[in-house]
Each structure stands twice: as structure tokens, then as C-alpha cells.
Symmetry: D2
Subunit: 163 residues, 4 copies
């Protein structure tokens, strides 16, 4: 009753603008489907950075790794070479040894969501053994961003979260 809905806790999206590379297209003339997972990874990295948390340092200093356990992506409209896209990232679940990110890929020119997805991760040590998140990890990730999202200037639809 008094506890906030999950969207209230995890709901803040980070937004990162990228431009589609020629190398990301395929002979169909659109972005090859595996490259959306690369964009998701950029989204995660920037989500963390915006909260003052370097994923590179996480690996190098904490010897912790966010190993990918699961991915899902739904493709709703194609992306084309040189399009500006907005990678929107938020956390949808955070547990002691695992977390999930949700994503939206938005075409910056008109704000249309062209893909949405989710990735599930477990935290491991350098040898691949599952471990708990380092001390303070959750606080850092759930803290308000210290770096603002990039603005696309597009009409981004009000967020309802991935289905």
C-alpha cells in the first residue's frame, strides 16, 4: 500500500543519442538485428556513468562482471544508416546477485519506438563464479543521475515501460 510501485523505484530512464553506422546495416538496407544488443550495451554503460558509476572500473577495480544471462528484443520498425537513435535504458529488477535492464530504441526524428528489449545479468567474479554485488553497488545504481540524459529534441512518448 505504502511501498512505491516498481516503476517509481526503477523507472528513471537514461537516454543516449547514437547515429547508425554504415557497418551496422545489412543487405536488406536496414540495421542488422544483432546490433540492437550492441546498442543495449551502450545504454547500460551510459546508464551507469550517468550515476557516477564506471562499468570499466567495476570490472577492473571490483573484479566484478555483469555476465549476460538472457536477452530479449522486439523489433517494431527498421532503423536506417545515418538515423539518429535514442537508446533509453532503465533498471527493471535489482536483486542481491542479479539485475535486469529494460530498453527502448527510439527514432530521434519522430520519437517512434522502433525496438524494445530486456537483458538479464548475474554478477560474477573474474573466474566466472556468481557472487553478490559489491558493497554500495545498489545505492549507486539507484541514485539519481548526476549526468543528464542527452536530449534528442524529438517528441519522446511518455514512458509506459516495456510490456
Amino acid at each position: 500500500m505504502t511501498s512505491p510501485a516498481p516503476e517509481d523505484v526503477f523507472g528513471e530512464w537514461h537516454e543516449k543519442l547514437e547515429r547508425v553506422r554504415y557497418s551496422e546495416t545489412d543487405k536488406m538496407g536496414i540495421v542488422y538485428y544483432a546490433n540492437y544488443l550492441v546498442w543495449f550495451e551502450i545504454g547500460r554503460t551510459e546508464f551507469c556513468r550517468a550515476r557516477g558509476f564506471s562499468y570499466r572500473d567495476f570490472e577492473e577495480n571490483d573484479e566484478s562482471y555483469l555476465v549476460v544471462a538472457e536477452t530479449y528484443c522486439r523489433y517494431k520498425a527498421p532503423a536506417y544508416y545515418d538515423d539518429e537513435i535514442l537508446i533509453r535504458t532503465h533498471i527493471t529488477e535489482l536483486r542481491r546477485r542479479s539485475l535486469r535492464f529494460g530498453y527502448e530504441i527510439v527514432r530521434a526524428s519522430d520519437g517512434q519506438i522502433i525496438a524494445e528489449g530486456e537483458t538479464g545479468h548475474v554478477v560474477t567474479d573474474a573466474s566466472g563464479r556468481v557472487r553478490s554485488f559489491p558493497e554500495g553497488f545498489a545505492q549507486r545504481l539507484l541514485a539519481p543521475p548526476v549526468i543528464k540524459s542527452q536530449s534528442s529534441g524529438a517528441i519522446v512518448p511518455s514512458e509506459t515501460g516495456p510490456a
Copy 2:
């Protein structure tokens, strides 16, 4: 009662052996997660070829495209540079305008399933409009293979299909 179970209709897997490329690894020392979707695509191409059906001709002669609408992958164990992997592919659903493939990625050295996934596709024309499959498409895809799967020599576990 008399109709065959889905596994009976669609269950025949195609197997294609590949070797992990250096370019497919990342700084974690294992295969980067988006590359599993590339392997799935190889699986689809070879599944079709084994049934006397060239996906390249499908695009070029029938002006039909299997656009990806959805992907799912569950990662169970890492793959390493120079590993031999077996890409196992079968059809899990076939409708008038869409189909789904299921996949298992198997480490050839010990037969362990290291990933499993699924992709959903719709058929479109060259302009991206959804259309029905060309005449005879279903028969060709569901026909017994004319080219045999590659054998890894590994103990591949009896198939239960992706969950």
C-alpha cells in the same frame, strides 16, 4: 489425439559446425553476447539450404524477406575463441505470414548446451509490406533435409527443445 505433437512436425533439427572467431570474443575473454544472434542466422540459412531452399534466392527471386520481429536468447555457459560449436536449428511455428525458429548452441567437445534461443519472423516484400509466404514455401521448409547435418562427433544430448 491423432494429430502429431508439434515436435513431430517441426522437430527435426539441422546441425552446423562453426569455429569461434577471435573477432567474436570480447575483453571478458568469451564470446560477446550479440554474436549468438549471428550464429542463429547461420543456423537459419543452413536449415533452409539443407532442405534444398536457398534463402539468398528467396530474397532475390521471390522478392521475399524474413524480417526479424523478435529474438530471445538464454546464455548458460560461455563460449571461447577457437571452440567448435554446433548450431542446432529447427522450426517451432509456421503460419501463413510468419514463422519461428528455435536454436541450441552446443559446445562440440562435450555436447553441453551453452545457449538456447528463438527468433520470430514475418515475411515481407521488398518494400517491407507483410505478405504471405510464396507458393510452396511451407512444403519446402517442412520437407526432410536433402543435405545431412554436420556431425560434431560430440555426445549431443537427446533433444527436448527449448523450454
Copy 3:
């Protein structure tokens, strides 16, 4: 005697800041060598855009393509995940049916040149036949930039051009 040295004509570099993606690394822990060619392509696209010239429109409206005929890259120091790199691009040769770009990849944190390279291109039509550049192409490419280079804030060494 009176004609300007090549560097005077073609020498203006465009600079584009990029951040190294996780997907670009390999098991050696550094950026995989083929990805430098992807960065060169980003450099070309942005060099053109900075001169009010969209390479996408060039392909789509002029039905002209800058097909790659030759590439060269010298790797001087590694790039790491999450590094900021500056892609520096300029034209080193421009003829009626061909042109060459030169590149420097600079580590933004200290201004060190970590790679330098060159690509040679011929212009073709949609069917792959070599043709002359469209009317006005050279003027547009050699005009002063209308969009400024991104600044890295790094001490970028004074340019001497690739050897």
C-alpha cells in the same frame, strides 16, 4: 611554385569523438583491429556532414557510391573499452573518379595518436560501374566545414599528416 602544397588544399581535418564500445574489444582486452576501419567510416561520414554533404543522400539521391578500393592502417598503441577516441579525417587526394581519405585515431585523454590509416575509393553507380563524381561534388567536399569539429579537450598534437 605558386600552387599550394597538398596539405594546404586538402589538409583540414574533421574531428569526431567516439567512445570505445565493449563489443569492439576482443579477448586480448583491446579493440579488435578490424574495428579501426569502422571508425574510419564514421570519420568519412562526419567529414562529409561537416561540409553540408550527406553521404546517405549521395547514395540515395545521386545513386553514387564510394566503393572502397584500398585500406591501410598502422596500429601504434592499443585502445581500451570506454576510452574516448578522436577520429581525425581529411582528404589526401581527389580526382575525377576517385578520392583518398587519411585518418588519425587519437586517444582523447592524452592526445596520443594510436593509429593512422588511409582508404582509397572509386565512385560507382548503383550497378557498380565506375563513373565520375556528380556535378559539384568536389566543391562541396573541399569547401570549409559548416559544422565544427568536436573538441576533445585533449592536447592534440600539431598535425603533420600521415607519412
Copy 4:
């Protein structure tokens, strides 16, 4: 007079057949130019394996790395999705701390050379410091192959080596 010409010493090519992946194409409908460097890497790996020498073990057991210092590629004709290509690899130079590989990419259907290239490498330890090749390295690499090249069945032109 009595010493063999370089081609006699280093000239034996290794041949590896690969099929062009959908992911390797771009919106021009042909293979994206950076992917030729990926094929070169496959060529190197297989060249070594054919001489009973595992590049993976080289990294893992000898803690030695063939770091890429230089690449060159000349593109003569496009490669298309689903084409069979033959990756031809040989050593063009071998010194105490460095070596060079030469490559030809041959279209298997008609034996046409569609690209040729070269890569230069230095050997380093795990920390990136240049070192000499491990004991016995040169003998292993220059020994006759113990695994035969794959045959494309194509008319492969008599080798003259890259210029």
C-alpha cells in the same frame, strides 16, 4: 645461389573455405570492407592449425600474443551473401620478433581473386611488451602442413603471391 627464393621458403599457402554471412553484408548489398580483416584472422588461425600449432595455446600457454601492427587490403571485386570464399594465407616475412602474413580472398565459384592483403605482427608478452618468439616457433610455422588445405573445387589461379 644456393639459398632458396623467399617464395620457396614461405610460399606455401593455406586455404580455408568460408561462407559469407548475412551479418557481413552492408546496405550496398556486398560484404562490408572491415570484414575482410576478420577473414584474414581466420586465415592466420587456420594456417597455424594446419602446422600443428594452436594460436589459442600460443596465447594461453606461451603467454605470447601476435599483436597487429599493420594491415593492408586491396579490394578487387565484391563478395556477396552466401558466396563461398577461399581464404588463402601464407607467411611473407619471419623475423626474431615479428612476422607478416599475406592473403588472397578467392571467390570459390570461379576462382577469381576478389581481395588481397597483408598483415604485420609483433610478438608481445601478456603485458604488451615486445619479446622474441618462443623457442621452436619458427620451425613449427615453417614446417610443412600436417592438415591439408580445404579444396574449393574451383580453378584457383596459379599463385604468384601478392605484389
